[in-house]
Amino acid sequence: MIKEIIKYPTPLSVEYAVDVRVFNNELFALIDNLKDTINENNLDALSAYQIGSFYNVIVVKDDNDEFVEMVNPRLINHKGRIITTESTAYYPGKTAQIQRFETISVVYQDRNGNDKSLQARGDFSVRIQRKIDYTFGATFVQKMSKEEKEKFEKSLENGINTTNADYCPTVFFRDKILKLINVVMFFMLLPLVASFFIDNEQTLQTLWSYQLYTIYGVIGLNIIYFFYAQYEGKRYVACSSCQLGNIVGTTAISLVKLFVITVASYFLLHVR
């Protein structure tokens, strides 16, 4: 049966790619559907993930244009590296430069659960690598260099990570609070520098009193950051609780910086 190939920006799946444990008619039908879909769309390879199945199954055409069915494939060894220009059915009309292994050793199972292995090189090797990426829930994007990924992301209307219910933003409003704290603390350094050029005791005391108000302000901002950051993180179910560690750490670092500025201010402005 010909199946619809999932295409960007539809998320590949809400499930996760997993190994096949039971070799039965459901698996045979899946493999046959992959072949039919490859033929219909004139493709050279397809993973089950691309047609909405979460099983680790791929079908790839070899150099003789024959189908190779691979269940639970694993890439165990490799030699050499090549840069290829690749396209994938998930991102129609898009290409990207990807670094791949030239020669690979793969172990897998056939549709009856028998252990198999093969060595592949050249285009066949690249096709298998591309499809194995999908078996663990990725696309070729995860194999791109940082620069290539940035370039590719710019070419996509909705970015690489399309919005879904499991989305956890990478940029938060709390980062703006942190930026404000850092800017304020930067300006707190200015009176310290100025103190080296000011001899008037009264001016220094005035600067110290302003500095004191700012110190209270930064402490307040840190408190706001600490609690708001946790509130913001909890708004997204997909954001992990490890964030708490980062929030605590970020606040601690900020307070250490403030402490250093406070001590310096005390000695340079107040008791000089």
Partner: protein
């Protein structure tokens, strides 16, 4: 007065003994038999192995701690069990052989009412020719399995760094030294710490680093891999690990059974049946684990080791050991109470219990060589199991032998894993992961077998802090300092 004997003073044994001593008080007796004089926080051995901590930082003397807890401490190794007693007495006993300097080699029979086997593993270096003899590390490679091994590894690492500074290129081979190893996580952490130290020493460009392991995919970790939330996105541990190796320019070879180790090279067999050799100047290869080789005898002195222990030397407990194909593995195969099915006053905790089967997908080469990670049972699961077993034994002592047993199935517990890449407080990128449950439950969580809301990972500095905190917290707890019971396993 009942007597509980705990064999082993690692995470599981120490947890069992200390909680039992606290709950039983002075009304009953708790005896710990362990060949070691010191307790070792094993996760921090990684930092000892790269010279960032000393042996003293990760160990402490057991004797004063056990004296404080009212535990009878015997520095000795268990040799055999007589769960039915002897022809002259019905009282079960364990035969021990002292390892302390003053009584080395002396043997003694200790009678018990209840016994907990928490001996941990025998580091089976001898399983791979050239890796070592029996449980002794060989001359060609290093290890981070014990604090002493880690100190040795650190010295060898420094030698390698000096050579690189002198202009000699060095090749580092890190991973597993046999097709049936566990603890890939420790080797994974060590390779990234090595890479970090080489970078710090300014010799990274003089080093070739390669990972060799029995995993069939990077990121298997003996748990069949996991899908976790990283920065809010769901990522397979395979992609997570692959990107770490790629970013740090570390080569890899997986699905490998190291079949022989010689000076400067290892021979291996891969899952596809091919064989090859890999050279090295510095190699840290984790050995496979086995039971410590305890024997068991019945009342008339006949060997009943096969009844009490599985063929790999680990103790049989309330698991379903019926051989089954991968497709039929169930979470319910895993033990819940860790009670020996034959002798109800015997329990096993931590690595010492025999798992019913692997967690990772079973795989073998066309030559029939099994090449797959064996189940990890270290750290957090060991502590949780140790506490549950202590609870059960205490209830059996205080409420009677039919008391309800406490349960701690690895198919119903989570585990946290922190893999550092350096030791810095302000720099570094550790990988912190939690997985729930450790053993996938494919019936409860169709697909991956895991609850993805509780299976997540982060790459970042937080992992370093967590590792630092855990180091101090668990050593504090193990020393039984005030409030130790409040610190979770």
């Amino acid at each position: 007065m009942a007597r509980l004997v705990v064999l082993g003073g690692g995470v599981a044994g120490h947890t069992t003994a200390t909680f039992a001593a606290k709950w039983l008080g002075s009304d009953h007796e708790v005896v710990v038999v362990t060949p070691n004089a010191k307790w070792n926080w094993i996760p921090s051995n990684i930092w000892v192995g790269v010279g960032q901590m000393t042996k003293k930082d990760v160990t402490f003397d057991l004797a004063p701690v056990y004296a404080k807890a009212g535990i009878d401490y015997r520095q000795a190794k268990a040799v055999s069990l007589n769960p039915e007693g002897s022809e002259s007495s019905d009282k079960p006993f364990v035969t021990i052989e002292y390892t302390s300097a003053d009584k080395a080699g002396e043997t003694e029979n200790i009678e018990y009412d209840y016994i907990v086997n928490a001996t941990g593993p025998k580091l089976n270096f001898g399983a791979t020719p050239g890796l070592g003899e029996g449980s002794q590390l060989g001359e060609h490679t290093v290890s981070v399995c014990t604090a002493d091994h880690a100190v040795h590894a650190s010295e060898k690492l420094q030698e390698a760094i000096e050579k690189m500074k002198g202009g000699t290129r060095q090749k580092f081979l890190i991973g597993t030294g046999h097709g049936m190893c566990t603890c890939q996580g420790a080797a994974f952490e060590y390779i990234f710490n090595i890479e970090h130290e080489l970078r710090k020493a300014g010799v990274r460009d003089m080093a070739d680093i390669k990972w060799i392991s029995n995993e069939s995919f990077l990121g298997d970790f003996g748990m069949g891999g996991l899908h976790m939330k990283v920065g809010g996105y769901v990522v397979s541990s395979k992609l997570f690990a692959e990107s770490l190796y790629a970013e740090r320019n570390i080569e890899w070879l997986i699905g490998a059974h190291v079949s022989k180790v010689e000076q400067g090279k290892v021979a291996y067999e891969l899952l596809d049946g091919s064989t090859g050799e890999e050279t090295f100047d510095f190699a840290m290869l984790i050995p496979p684990f086995a039971g410590v080789g305890l024997k068991a005898y019945n009342k008339s002195g006949e060997d009943i080791t096969d009844t009490v222990f599985a063929p790999n030397g680990f103790m049989k407990v309330d698991a379903d050991y019926t051989p089954k194909p991968y497709a039929e593995w169930k979470a319910s195969d895993w033990p819940r109470t860790y009670q020996n099915p034959t002798y109800k006053n015997m329990f096993a905790a931590g690595i010492a219990f025999a798992p019913p089967h692997l967690i990772s997908k079973p795989m073998k080469s066309p030559n029939g060589t099994p090449i797959n990670p064996t189940p990890p049972r270290t750290g957090m699961p060991s502590g949780i199991i140790g506490k549950a077993v202590a609870h059960s034994v205490c209830d059996m002592i205080t409420k009677g032998e039919n008391a309800h047993l406490h349960e701690a199935s690895m198919a119903e517990m989570g585990a946290a894993c922190v893999a550092s890449a350096g030791k810095g407080i302000f720099t570094g990128t550790a990988a912190a992961m939690t997985v729930y449950p450790v053993v996938p439950d494919f019936e409860k969580y169709p697909g991956t077998g895991r609850d993805t809301d509780y299976t997540f990972g982060e790459i970042g500095l937080a992992g370093h802090w967590i590792k630092h905190i855990l180091h101090h917290l668990f050593i504090y707890k193990a020393k039984l300092n005030p409030g130790w019971t409040l610190i979770p396993e």
